[in-house]
Symmetry: D2
Subunit: 176 residues, 4 copies
């Protein structure tokens, strides 16, 4: 069966978005890219600051409250429906909850053909890239580097430390 | 029954996004804002240029091809699922197909409580705002001004020609 | 003598940028638009947060430290040199220091033909537009509304409360 | 004498902006980053499309007309004045004219202490990164890769093909 969803999970500044855009350019069918950043941009401004939403604290700490988590559940079910309706989707995600996040997505995506991809980058390198991007809260890259992968199971790992986004995308495209 | 989806339909530069952000700030529950711009940003770059995707031509002409339209159908079904899963959603849309676009959304949103809002702005004023934004293809505002409303039925009209986004949002919020 | 610099001074969310883009579209010669936002984007990330740079606090409070102010002085001298070298420039500014800011710019722009324009908007309306933009710290619009104009002298006032950016730009263009 | 201007010249997608942000984070004094992108953003929208401005054509072709070139000369003189007034500046540039561009900048920056840095990236790698960015006209990276360095003289070369932006920035910072 052909892949319907490519789930890219990795820390902030690990290089997921670049891989997603390369996949979109490289795969013969049209694929949408949607992810955490899309959801965060869709929130009311107050939920990007307050306790019940998502907050970006010092040293790269990210906290989520009940209102954000409820929307996140609905969001993942919506993504699954898009895929069931025929859209191929690259999901650009950060499993802040590790295996619990994966379980939630697995539940939402039930019945769909999903390729689970772990996107890894050595923390020191990711931290340098976070600095080079200049628009991210410093510290997220390092803090999340291990965290988001603990206890998560993948079909495929890619490592952007020494491989370009395009090479990683090729490895993934070969499995689609 | 309480409103689950607020559908804002209006031409480019008619002021929908500003109304959506005011609604998010004003309504007691958290509402997501998603729309055409979100979908376009999620497309492969090639579909934002090519014949099968969406193309922004001279004089504000917007054409959509089969690949875009198929993704658009899946997208609207995904939005509906998010709402069914409990997320309240402001949809920021441009019914390029007029009543056919509305019929498609009506079908996708079946069973949900939807408030249909037409966002109008006098073409000459919208055109000036398009110029003031500076990041839109000139001509879309005028070209779409009438087009997107022809044959579409609403619960409520708002007109941004002389009313601020905040006032329009208040009128909508009163109906939610 | 023909105008070389159009200085737009007004509070955050008073509508300066929209006027600037309309002026650029309307004036026969090519004009650059540069301003506070350009300078802030050019700063090291640390100066957009720290005490010596510029900081955006709660309730719309903006504080500037010595490092920012030194760069700001150099910035205004650079803008003046561009104008002396033949570039026509719309400066999109916020005189946080009121007359002291104007004196500093007057000194930098010495010998150039400058049109000083005050951009006003009723605080309640500006506050609504700030909400509608969604990307500004809430409170700046109201806090700065009076502050930036106190003791400042203009060739021309425009008021965006009820006039569109395009109309304001026309009034300015008539004086260039 | 201490360096007042760091001139980074390299093709589109060679990694200059990331290096600039790392330099800003790493150098003890505050440095501004300004460059071609800043100037292009300051142009009237019509000059980003028309013959007299700058146009981004198929296959990554970039053409500049007389109006753009006149503004570019004034721009470089303004940057030089900012540096003379005490602002340290990283200039993020693309010498589309090769040695003529360098001669023009050398003339503008006369009397200032400038570190000339060539930023190189293997064309195939730069092309992949262009794809991964997703917001650039495809083809610029490859087309400009050699072109912008031909006949240009540097104090220092950095190569982002296998070195991270942070490492390149360290090599540059050691020379400041």
């Amino acid at each position: 069966m052909t892949t319907q969803v490519i789930m890219l999970n990795g820390a902030s500044s690990s290089g997921k978005s670049g891989i997603a855009r390369c996949l979109q350019a490289m795969l013969p069918d049209p694929w949408l890219t949607l992810g955490t950043d899309t959801l965060v941009a869709a929130l009311p401004a107050s939920l990007r600051r307050g306790d019940s939403g998502i907050s970006f604290g010092p040293e790269g700490r990210v906290d989520t409250g009940p209102a954000f988590r409820a929307l996140d559940v609905a969001w993942s079910q919506g993504i699954a429906s898009m895929a069931r309706a025929g859209a191929r989707i690259v999901v650009d995600e950060v499993f802040l909850g590790g295996p619990a996040s994966q379980a939630r997505w697995r539940e939402a995506l039930r019945g769909l053909e999903v390729l689970w991809v772990g996107v890894r980058c050595e923390p020191a390198v990711a931290e340098g890239r976070e600095l080079a991007r200049g628009d991210r809260v410093p510290g997220m890259a390092r803090r999340q580097a291990e965290l988001v992968h603990q206890g998560v199971r993948y079909d495929l790992w890619v490592d952007t430390t020494r491989a370009e986004a395009l090479e990683c995308a090729r490895m993934i495209a070969d499995r689609v």
